[in-house]
């Protein structure tokens, strides 16, 4: 009787390398479980990964379909991340002063070979305004603001306004003709704020004896611009709002928004 020899199938080198890699202590210290190819690991990957744990483990089928979500909320968030990253790079080269602002932008344009960070930042910002609108449109058309998601709709509306404000404050920073006149047109509205703008209805009523309380140098427009015209003060104010204050607020609200999506029962769907 001939001796039959069992031959172990010899695995290809990449497979062996992969197996070796995923068994090293370094790898297993980062990923606590094997690839999510079985149900147990599909649960574990969602529970143990900080970037994925915003998601539930399982989801109703319509909720993963573009037909229902249009992916606009996700894209808005992604564009925000792109804008944060490109904005951070731009901050290395940009100084918000009358002396340097414009020439720094010219420098970015002329001296950086193949530089597209400013383009990515600007077009990404326009795109984010559009995706946020379409996200709101989708949420309305699917009735997803209805109970129990009323509060989250409100958080969303505030973030919509913040998105517009972020874009508006960023518009000034290149300090070219387009920038200051667009901001001038926008900021002139504040002059007419009822009671708080010096050309607004009711402002003339706010007096202390003979002293006008609201005038050009202390009204709502002044607070916005840090001056009576779009100048150095406005540039610094818009820079700080654009790079620090508004991103912090909107980031905080995003956390609330995503948390509430989960807590209000996940993505909306028929009851």
């Amino acid at each position: 009787m001939a001796q039959t020899e069992t031959v172990q199938p010899k695995e290809a080198l990449p497979v062996r390398a992969w197996n070796w890699l995923t068994e090293t202590q370094i790898w297993t210290s980062i990923f606590r479980h094997a690839a999510p190819i079985n149900d147990r690991n599909r649960v574990l990957v969602m529970l143990s990964n900080v970037f994925l744990h915003l998601h539930p483990v399982r989801l109703k089928k319509h909720g993963v379909r573009l037909r229902y979500t249009w992916c606009m909320g996700g894209l808005s968030f992604f564009l925000f991340l792109v804008l944060t990253f490109t904005g951070l790079l731009l901050m290395f080269y940009y100084r918000p002063t009358l002396e340097y602002a414009y020439s720094d932008i010219v420098g970015l344009r002329e001296h950086v070979p193949l530089g597209i960070m400013r383009e990515m930042h600007r077009w990404g910002a326009h795109a984010m305004v559009i995706t946020v609108w379409l996200h709101m449109f989708r949420v309305f058309m699917t009735g997803s603001y209805k109970p129990p998601r009323e509060f989250n709709w409100n958080v969303g509306v505030i973030m919509l306004v913040l998105t517009l404000l972020l874009s508006f404050t960023g518009y000034l920073l290149p300090w070219d003709q387009l920038a200051i006149w667009a901001i001038t047109v926008g900021a002139n509205m504040a002059r007419a704020t009822p009671f708080l703008g010096h050309e607004g209805p009711g402002a003339a009523l706010l007096t202390l004896g003979d002293v006008q309380l609201i005038h050009a140098a202390d009204d709502a427009r002044f607070a916005l611009l840090g001056g009576t015209f779009v100048g150095e003060g406005a540039l610094l104010r818009f820079y700080v709002l654009h790079c620090v204050a508004l991103p912090l607020v909107i980031g905080f609200l995003m956390a609330v928004h995503f948390w509430r999506v989960r807590k209000d029962g996940g993505i909306s769907g028929p009851l």
Binding site: P56, K61, G74, F137, E150, D176, P270
Partner: protein
């Protein structure tokens, strides 16, 4: 060819443009089953594509649409048209299913799937596509940079960033305190109020039209007609001195438009009663004040009577808040119409207190 351009220029007039966009909305809502056909959706997109392609050959139109910051608005037109059509189509489909006794599509798809891989991969592909689009867009189109800021040199026209052009367009009809402060605040308040004044429990979590006819129509009126179409109007059809220019018209800085607008007080005191304007501002403006008070204080109770069913369904608070927000929303078209028909500038005009309505 010139004839077509003249014809389009004529039809782009703000009055016709606005009225046509209202009619388009009425058509969408009323004939939504026809509108939701694939041929209509793709046809609309193809029509827009041909229109812009055709427009590129016109030097005046080209100047506007290839302005780098206007590119997103061109994209916005296509996207808004597409997604409006898409949302209506999905709504109509579900309506037909519900009418036939079935559940909406979303209900049928409510069995659960794993987030990994189903959702995670969808997200990954979306991110990659989005990044690719953004990179191509950035390589292909340089971000605009004009002359350095010069406070002494005012460009004509001075336009706000494109997403605020709807508000800037309102300045034609309202003073800045309304167009720039009060009405934008009310837009925000109104949006935030939606979940609390809409008590209709139906249509939560699926596309539908029939079950939410009124809500969707009002929202589409706000989003498509008052917001999106006014942005398009402000971007493409407003030139120097904020005068109207057809899409194929040269932006002539010397174009003059006769300013024949009159105040309501002029109408009544001078033209109807044949008297000089009274000195006292209150006497002068009393008719306008009464009219405005009537609009905000008398109309809502009248509406409560007319729409008894809604009043009972919503309760007093909800109904009056809704009525008030609706009236504020409609104040823009009302003011537009009175301007176009009667050349009315202000209903109430008290320049002494910067109070003009």
């Amino acid at each position: 060819m010139e004839l077509i351009k003249t014809f389009i220029n004529l039809f782009a007039d703000p009055r016709l443009f606005f009225i046509m966009s209202v009619l388009a909305l009425v058509a969408i809502v009323w004939k939504r089953e026809a509108f939701s056909r694939n041929s209509v959706g793709y046809g609309l997109l193809a029509f827009l594509g041909v229109f812009f392609a055709f427009g590129l050959f016109d030097e005046n139109f080209r100047l506007i649409i290839v302005k780098p910051d206007n590119v997103p608005i061109v994209a916005l037109i296509f996207l808004v048209v597409f997604f409006t059509w898409y949302a209506v189509r999905e709504g109509v489909r579900n309506d037909q299913r519900i009418a036939a006794g079935d559940d909406p599509i979303e209900k049928e798809e409510s069995d659960r799937v794993w987030v990994w891989p189903d959702l995670v991969y969808t997200e990954l592909i979306s991110l990659i596509l989005c990044t690719a689009v953004l990179i191509v867009w950035s390589v292909g189109l340089e971000a605009p940079l004009e002359q350095p800021a010069n406070p002494a040199n005012t460009p004509n026209p001075s336009k706000a960033p494109w997403y605020f052009l709807g508000l800037q367009e309102m300045l034609v009809y309202f003073d800045p305190w309304l167009a720039g402060v009060v009405l934008p605040s009310l837009i925000i308040v109104g949006l935030m109020a939606i979940p609390y004044i809409d008590t209709n429990p139906k249509g939560n979590g699926y596309y539908t039209f029939r079950e939410r006819r009124v809500e969707i129509t009002i929202f589409l009126f706000g989003f498509l007609v008052l917001w999106s179409s006014l942005i398009v109007l402000g971007t493409f059809l407003r030139g120097p001195n904020w005068n109207f220019f057809g899409p194929f018209e040269y932006w002539d800085i010397h174009k003059l438009e006769p300013l024949t607008n009159v105040q309501l007080s002029d109408f009544i005191w001078v033209r109807m009663l044949g008297q000089p304007l009274p000195e006292n501002w209150f006497v002068r403006e009393v008719f306008g004040i009464v009219l405005t008070l009537g609009y905000v204080a008398v109309l809502p109770p009248l509406m409560a009577r007319m729409f008894r069913r809604y009043y009972e369904k919503l309760g007093a608070t909800r109904f009056y808040v809704t009525a008030m927000l609706l009236l504020m929303m409609l104040s823009l078209p009302v003011k537009m119409l009175t301007r176009w028909i009667f050349n009315l500038k202000y209903v109430v005009s008290i320049p002494e207190y910067f109070f003009n309505i």
